[in-house]
């Protein structure tokens, strides 16, 4: 019997010949990712007796969750982090404006095949787009890694998702992700390692693949993995910060569950308030009133997402009484979008462009909804209160649907825009 990706990479990192699901291993991650929550982690690190971090090069620290700082308190938080980074001599620090941690980790060549990324953020499975093992951990755990360089991990069981066929027009990886989350449920992959296989996955570009690994967190997964191929290696050429060695599952690995989907029958999907697994086809939701349309986040704020949205909205205007907010996921995405004219297209349509970061996704700033308002968003979570007030509703959709809805002021299929 062979081994899954999770079993192979955790055995390798633990220095063991083989591991089995349920086993606890002690491993040293290649990357320890933290963001604005670095400030409270510093407090716990001190409480543990920490003085100097175990390995300065292991850290990747990003200011993205409330950046630029919306309040003095946030600004003080950022200052504490900058002081710490300078005094410790941490090289991989990305200040306000560089972008969202998961996106920038990939752009900076720090999420690498065959490596382990542990992050104090629940969407750390995102790094699996490059063939890394990415998992979210708590703040105390992160502080312990800073101090000692290692942490315990339970070897997860694995689910194999196989997607054949090709996605139809107007249908994106976001719809595929929502379709599967709706099917398997919010605990459908609880504590599992999820592997994505099949011709439909191979056909996706990296930007779309990242939507899948990012959204897998919404099924309760520990990590999410797409086997790295030539697209990944070409992207990492001259970008990778370290020499890497990919890890692949054995063909005869033992999976708890194998689920198969046909991409060609998927339609645009919407996650309705207030859970990500409350998924319905777009056709059942069209006509629902919206007040705000938001394109951005680590899920759907990349160049390809902005290109798709710009294509839909080009030459049209955001509806009267509706707001459209666009936030590129990183400064690199922003520059490219400027160069290609997408930013100008959005501005001509009456959209608001804001600086790279998480923005209003978890209710911090840059376009939070008013009481009673409805947002359609390209993000990954629509929990009650997520964007700031419990008295508002969030629908999750692909960027084309978000853009089309901005034009009409109601949830709209992009094909129906005249």
């Amino acid at each position: 019997m062979g081994f899954t990706f999770a079993e192979k990479i955790l055995a390798k990192k633990a220095g063991l010949k083989r591991v089995i699901p349920g086993e606890i291993v002690q491993i040293t991650p290649d990357v320890a990712l933290s963001h604005d929550n670095t400030a409270p982690i510093i407090g716990i690190f001190r409480k543990m007796g920490g003085v100097k971090v175990f390995d300065t090069e292991m850290h990747a620290i990003f200011l993205d969750h409330a950046a630029p700082a919306p309040t003095t308190k946030h600004a003080e938080n950022h200052r504490v982090i900058r002081d710490f980074v300078r005094k410790q001599g941490i090289p991989y620090f990305f200040d306000v404006g560089r972008g969202i941690c998961h996106q920038v980790l990939v752009e900076e060549g720090l999420a690498l095949p065959g490596e382990v990324v542990l992050g104090s953020d629940s969407h750390t499975p995102h790094a699996g787009v490059m063939g890394a093992f990415g998992a979210g951990i708590g703040r105390s755990e992160m502080a312990s890694i800073w101090a000692l360089g290692d942490l315990w991990l339970r070897v997860p069981q694995s689910v194999k998702i196989v997607v054949q066929g090709a996605l139809p027009t107007w249908v994106t990886a976001k719809d595929l992700a929502l379709h599967i989350i709706g099917d398997l449920g919010a605990d459908g992959a609880l504590y599992m390692s999820v592997e994505w296989h099949g011709e439909a996955i191979e056909a996706l570009d990296l930007s779309q693949r990242a939507v899948l690994t990012n959204m897998t967190a919404e099924m309760g997964a520990k990590n999410s993995y797409i086997p790295p191929d030539q697209k990944v290696f070409a992207y990492l050429d001259k970008r990778a910060r370290r020499v890497f060695k990919p890890v692949y599952p054995d063909p005869n690995a033992d999976y708890t569950q194998v689920v198969e989907y046909d991409a060609s029958i998927i339609e645009p999907m919407i996650a309705c308030p207030h859970t990500v697994d409350n998924v319905r086809p777009l056709s059942e939701i069209t006509g629902t009133h919206i007040d705000q349309a938001f394109i951005g986040t680590c899920t759907n704020g990349r160049l390809e997402d902005l290109a798709a949205a710009a294509h839909v909205i080009s030459g049209k205007q955001v509806a009267d009484g509706t707001r459209m907010i666009v936030i590129p996921a990183s400064s690199q995405v922003y520059k490219e979008a400027l160069r290609k004219g997408y930013i100008e297209t959005f501005l001509n349509s009456g959209a608001v462009i804001e600086s790279p970061g998480c923005g209003p996704c978890m209710g911090n700033h840059m376009g939070v909804p008013a009481i009673g308002e409805v947002t359609i968003s390209s993000a990954n979570r629509n929990f009650r209160g997520r964007m700031g007030t419990k008295e508002s509703e969030i629908y999750l959709a692909n960027p084309l649907v978000v853009a089309a809805s901005a034009v009409t002021g109601v949830i709209t299929h992009p094909k129906d825009l005249a």
Binding site: G22, E23, I24, Q26, I44, K47, M48, G49, G50, S122, G136, I137, G138, R139, S140, E141, A143, S144, A147, L148, W152, A186, D187, L190, Y191, G220, K222, F383, G385
Partner: protein, 166 residues
């Protein structure tokens, strides 16, 4: 003297998908920061009798996906500081499970026991043997691995790390 690996307590039984917002409401996450103050808000939106009624070594018995939602550690700390002895569930949300073990609060997975145990019953858990003794009989669970028991013996991840650093 009774081993600390034996937990004997009364059961508070709950259902599936209990999320961290009802275990420790989000509105307190930035206003209540002292662990000693947290128990009074525990399960506030799920069971208003819990915070006042919980006795040392009491045990929560729950369905699937206990602790889903946010990764806030307060949702474990509020129970631990209230004296809770253990949580037995059909399954745990992943980060909640980790937070429990790192706070030295036993989180045990035993679906059969959950179905058999009634609310208010007194049960005994033997952590070393991996056994739960209740009115319906004895149920077994996979004992906690040695690596985790070391964290337990130190009193949690923070004292454990402090000890290893020293």
């Amino acid at each position: 003297m009774e081993s600390k690996n034996i937990i004997n307590g009364r059961v508070w039984k709950y259902g599936d998908n209990v999320n961290t917002d009802v275990i420790f409401p989000g509105k307190y996450t930035y206003t209540v920061s002292d662990p000693a103050d947290m128990p009074r808000y525990a399960l506030e939106d799920l069971d208003p009798h819990f915070a006042d009624g919980v006795q040392p070594n009491d045990i929560i018995v729950a369905g699937t996906n206990w602790g889903c939602g946010s990764s806030r550690e307060q949702a474990v700390i509020c129970l631990k500081h209230g004296g809770l002895g253990a949580i037995v569930a059909k399954s745990f949300a992943r980060i909640y499970y980790r937070n429990c073990l790192n706070a030295a609060l036993p989180a045990l997975i035993c679906p059969d026991a959950v179905d058999a145990i009634g609310n208010g019953e007194t049960i005994e858990i033997d952590l070393e043997a991996g056994e739960i003794h209740c009115d319906a009989g004895t149920f077994t669970f996979q004992p906690l691995p040695a690596a985790i028991m070391k964290i337990f013996e130190a009193g949690g991840l923070i004292p454990y790390t402090r000890k290893r650093l020293a």
